[in-house]
């Protein structure tokens, strides 16, 4: 069944960023008394995709739960019940996971503002409204939450001064988003997948639909609790805007912006780096997105280690592409191409739908270079949706962004996100390698850490029927008379 037909059951966030609502509040709650919390939570007006499609909503509330939150509400949160094991573990639940995600050193969960121990949230309420209305909505919701026995862990307002769609370093953000097969017409598999495409099977975003492998992955099937749900990753990322631009100015002087653009892999205004040829890509209409890296395999134009090339390397299942049965076969068995140009493939299994927004005062690059600092912290509420945390978010964050060995490189983490901690045998991770305007290879070592993780959680964003199931009295699993509450 096409997801479009179930829009009334899907939280709007799955297909809407609501950029017209400039105000946002990320309200993190802990439930004190489920019997008190449930009736209040049931009164919340959680916007469905169908509602968002039907009319322009003046305000929006979306809801997601951590594993701890679902447990408090009485759900059985186990792998056997169909929940993602990484979700059950939690983003900070395991030292090995933290290591892979780069959440070590200054990023370590022990240093987070929220996310672990008593600061582990149960619920995320994402409130969106006009600039002028968000504070009132947030205040009213906080009061109601407290009246229902919930503790407010964090109530992060997104900035109201940065234009939506620009991240604090000053770059246009959110340009590249996967498109999902809402109409239910895509059948993955076959030679077409050798080429990069931006259209994904619905099961990469929502639970209960076939994924890019053509199978429906496990999800909580009891009473279809998980259907039309998704896993939401929320990370609060502090960005050292001043440190970033001052470092660039020291490194490159007048070339600071050009160097920053190479580190990001886009120009400040979001345009692809000049020199990348436009390409026709399935599932893309935005010209800023209609390009690939296949014509730039060695990173002469866009460095291989650039941020956007790491988080979406834009490769199909085979970097050699599609050239007829025989050549495809030769390539498939590994007799054509090189390891260096085949380090990263099949991005269709590793895409994220991002819904992040910046926070904190805006500091322009010019002001930052002169040392201007905001009165409060600046950063990004990174929010993304995916159906398989291990294969999507953790893969992108761990194997691509945090890894100093991404794509066969050495000593380079994501130039923006890296924690710069050395590897085994003191192998460095703090370099950035690129080609300058004259095409000369350049290497910089000693990149400082520009982004620090302040909090994080894995959450389950249920479908609306699933939500009703979670919030019914008597627990999500039972079949008691309380089921009438649905």
């Amino acid at each position: 069944m096409a997801a479009n037909d179930e829009a009334a059951d899907i939280q709007a966030l799955a297909h809407r960023g609501f950029s017209s609502l400039a105000g946002a509040c990320y309200l993190l709650l802990r439930i004190g008394n489920p019997a008190l919390a449930k009736p209040w939570l049931r009164t919340l007006d959680i916007a469905s995709l169908a509602q968002a499609r039907a009319k322009r909503l003046p305000q929006v509330c979306q809801i997601a739960f951590t594993a701890a939150g679902l447990r408090v509400l009485g759900a059985e949160v186990t792998p056997e019940a169909g929940f993602d094991p990484q979700f059950i573990d939690g983003i900070a639940g395991d030292a090995n996971r933290s290591h892979r995600l780069g959440d070590e050193g200054a990023n370590a969960p022990a240093n987070w503002y929220w996310g672990v121990g008593e600061q582990e949230p149960h619920i995320l309420l994402l409130l969106l409204a006009a600039d002028t209305a968000i504070d009132g909505l947030a205040q009213a919701t906080r009061s109601a939450a407290q009246a229902a026995g919930c503790t407010v862990i964090s109530s992060n307002n997104s900035t109201t001064t940065t234009p939506i769609g620009r991240e604090p370093f000053g770059f246009v953000d959110g340009v590249s988003q996967p498109d999902c097969d809402w109409a239910g017409t895509l059948t993955p598999g076959g030679a077409r997948d050798r080429d990069y495409r931006n259209l994904l099977a619905m099961g990469e975003l929502l639970l209960g639909y076939p994924n890019e492998y053509g199978f429906i992955g496990d999800y909580p099937r009891d009473h279809e609790l998980g259907r039309n749900g998704s896993y939401l990753v929320y990370r609060q990322l502090a960005q050292d805007v001043t440190g970033f631009w001052q470092w660039l100015a020291r490194q490159a002087g007048d070339g600071a912006t050009a160097l920053a653009e190479r580190m990001v892999g886009r120009e400040l205004d979001g345009a692809p780096l000049p020199g990348l040829k436009p390409a026709k890509i399935m599932g893309t209409t935005d010209s800023r997105n209609a390009f690939q890296f296949a014509q730039d395999p060695d990173g002469h134009v866009c460095p291989i280690g650039a941020h956007i090339r790491r988080v979406n390397p834009r490769s199909g299942d085979d970097p050699n592409g599609r050239h007829g049965f025989l050549r495809d076969l030769i390539s498939t068995v590994g007799f054509s191409g090189t390891a260096m140009h085949d380090a990263v493939a099949s991005v269709r299994f590793h895409r994220l739908l991002r819904r992040g927004r910046p926070y904190g005062p805006v500091i322009s690059p010019q002001a930052a270079m002169q040392g201007a600092r905001g009165a409060q912290e600046t950063g990004l509420h990174f929010v993304c949706l995916n159906a398989n945390l291990a294969r999507q978010f953790e893969f992108v964050q761990g194997a691509w962004a945090a890894s100093a060995k991404f794509a066969g490189l050495a000593a380079q983490q994501d130039p923006l996100l890296g924690n710069r901690l050395p590897l085994a045998a003191a192998q460095p991770t703090d370099a950035f390698v690129y080609a300058d305007a004259a095409g000369c290879p350049r290497a910089i070592a000693g990149l400082p850490q520009f982004v620090t993780v302040r909090g994080g959680a894995y959450l389950f964003l249920p479908g609306l029927r699933g939500l009703a199931r979670v919030l019914r009295d008597g627990g999500a699993d039972g079949d008691g008379a309380a089921g009438a509450a649905e």
């Binding site: 792998p79 094991p85 199978f215 498939t332 493939a345 099949s346 194997a399 060995k405 045998a425």
Partner: protein, 423 residues
């Protein structure tokens, strides 16, 4: 030519001694699952020819599967301790070195084995417990630890030089780098002799020769074999249980300490002669292909495996698979599924409970969730793992070799820039 050897020694553990053995092995580690190169029992770091090595207790969590879906197989098998290593030179040389260097430690370790005799000759005992693996894969046959170490030093020296001259033009930098390279000693690389080349060619011809010799029997039997395969494929039960979070924590606690990880897995073959001989044939071909087709860093399209091996146990009722790969487990699994699902299917689909294949190469591992669960179901913790060059991947090794080759070449223009870019 100085090739690499794979060595696999296994002996049954005395009943009830496995926990004490695991405790002893743990004393060899510097970090979780990671060997201290200077540990008192077997100081791996003192043996310069070893690339990777491990001690692993082959405690098969999937044995109960047999009662469930293959009751004709015996319910139990011996619990073994295995020592597995990949080294330069011959296995005999490595065993002699081990005995010379670490007899007391090895005796202590193997004293937990039921047939170990403290009075016996250790070298002879090790030889007697050697199992020749059915197939082994080496990322880059012929690349010795000497070469790896020297080229890593070369890269480190050149990188430092490059970083110290950030504004130099490629031509200026070339001279500076060549001067810096002179301070790094590089032993000449071994060149294969004529006799070795002849032997290599002869070995290569084995596959076509066998194929030719067997074709009078195989071709008429083929329709029957295909029918048999199709019937089996559609009837063999799949067993891919939901992973336990606790066991996952146990396994992952010893992973990702380095950029490279160890992987150990054990399982039963599907019962019957058909699967048994199919596995023997496939592993023979994999072993042959590793020697002749996949010699320069790529096994199919997978570029991240340092060493891998497939070893039969218990009269070919069980198979052990071990590998040393770059990246984390999940990424490794994904890379495998997306790049060489066909290879996984041919090499593992004879395993009891493997996700359903079609025509031997299709589907199978493409059932991503079942496949990952199947792998997880068979993965076992590696108690001690040693890698001679922590922090470096197969890509690093290959790049360092290219950098060295660039010292000799006459580089200008874009070739010069490409060479510098790699440093």
């Amino acid at each position: 030519m100085a090739g690499q050897s794979h060595i696999f020694i296994a002996a049954p553990v005395r009943t009830g001694a496995a926990d004490a053995l695991a405790d002893l092995l743990e004393t060899m580690n510097a970090g979780p699952g990671t060997a201290d190169p200077a540990n008192a029992l077997l100081p791996f770091g003192s043996i310069p020819t070893i690339h990777v090595a491990r001690f692993v207790i082959l405690d098969d969590p999937s044995l109960p599967d047999r009662q469930q879906i293959a009751p004709q197989l015996p319910a139990t098998e011996p619990l073994r301790l295995a020592f597995i290593a990949d080294c330069d030179g011959t296995a005999d040389q490595l065993l002699s070195t081990l005995v010379q260097l670490a007899s007391p430690g090895l005796r202590r370790i193997f004293s937990y084995c039921s047939d170990f005799d403290a009075q016996a000759d250790l070298l002879a005992w090790l030889h007697a417990h050697r199992i020749v693996s059915a197939a082994s894969y080496t990322n880059w046959p012929g690349r010795t630890m000497t070469q790896v170490r020297e080229e890593a030093r070369l890269h480190a020296a050149l990188r430092q030089t490059r970083l110290a001259h950030p504004d130099a033009s490629p031509e200026q930098l070339r001279g500076i780098l060549l001067t810096a390279a002179q301070s790094v000693a590089l032993s000449p690389l071994p060149v294969p002799t004529f006799a070795e080349k002849v032997a290599q060619t002869g070995d290569f011809l084995l596959l076509p020769l066998y194929a030719l010799l067997l074709s009078p029997f195989l071709i008429p039997a083929l329709p029957f074999l295909i029918l048999l395969l199709r019937w089996r494929e559609t009837h063999d039960p799949v067993l891919a249980p939901v992973p336990s979070i606790a066991r996952n924590k146990l396994l992952s606690s010893i992973e990702d300490q380095d950029v490279t990880n160890q992987y150990s897995a054990i399982g039963s073959l599907k019962p019957g002669l058909f699967r048994r001989w199919l596995t023997v044939t496939i592993l023979w071909i994999i072993n042959w292909a590793g020697r002749h087709l996949y010699k320069t860093g790529r096994l199919g399209r997978v570029n991240t495996i340092h060493f891998a091996s497939w070893t039969f146990l218990d009269d070919k009722r069980r198979l052990f698979f071990g590998s040393n790969y770059d990246g984390s487990r999940e990424a490794y699994n994904d890379d495998f599924i997306n790049k060489v699902a066909f290879g996984l299917n041919v090499s593992f689909s004879n395993g009891l409970g493997y996700p359903q294949t079609n025509w031997l190469i299709f589907d199978g591992a493409r059932h991503e969730q079942d496949f990952k669960r199947y792998l997880f179901h068979h993965q076992i913790p590696t108690q001690v793992w040693y890698k001679a060059m922590p922090g470096l991947t197969t890509y690093d090794f290959a790049r360092n070799t290219r950098i060295r080759q660039g010292l000799k070449a006459n580089l200008t223009g874009s070739a010069l820039k490409a060479w510098i870019a790699e440093i």
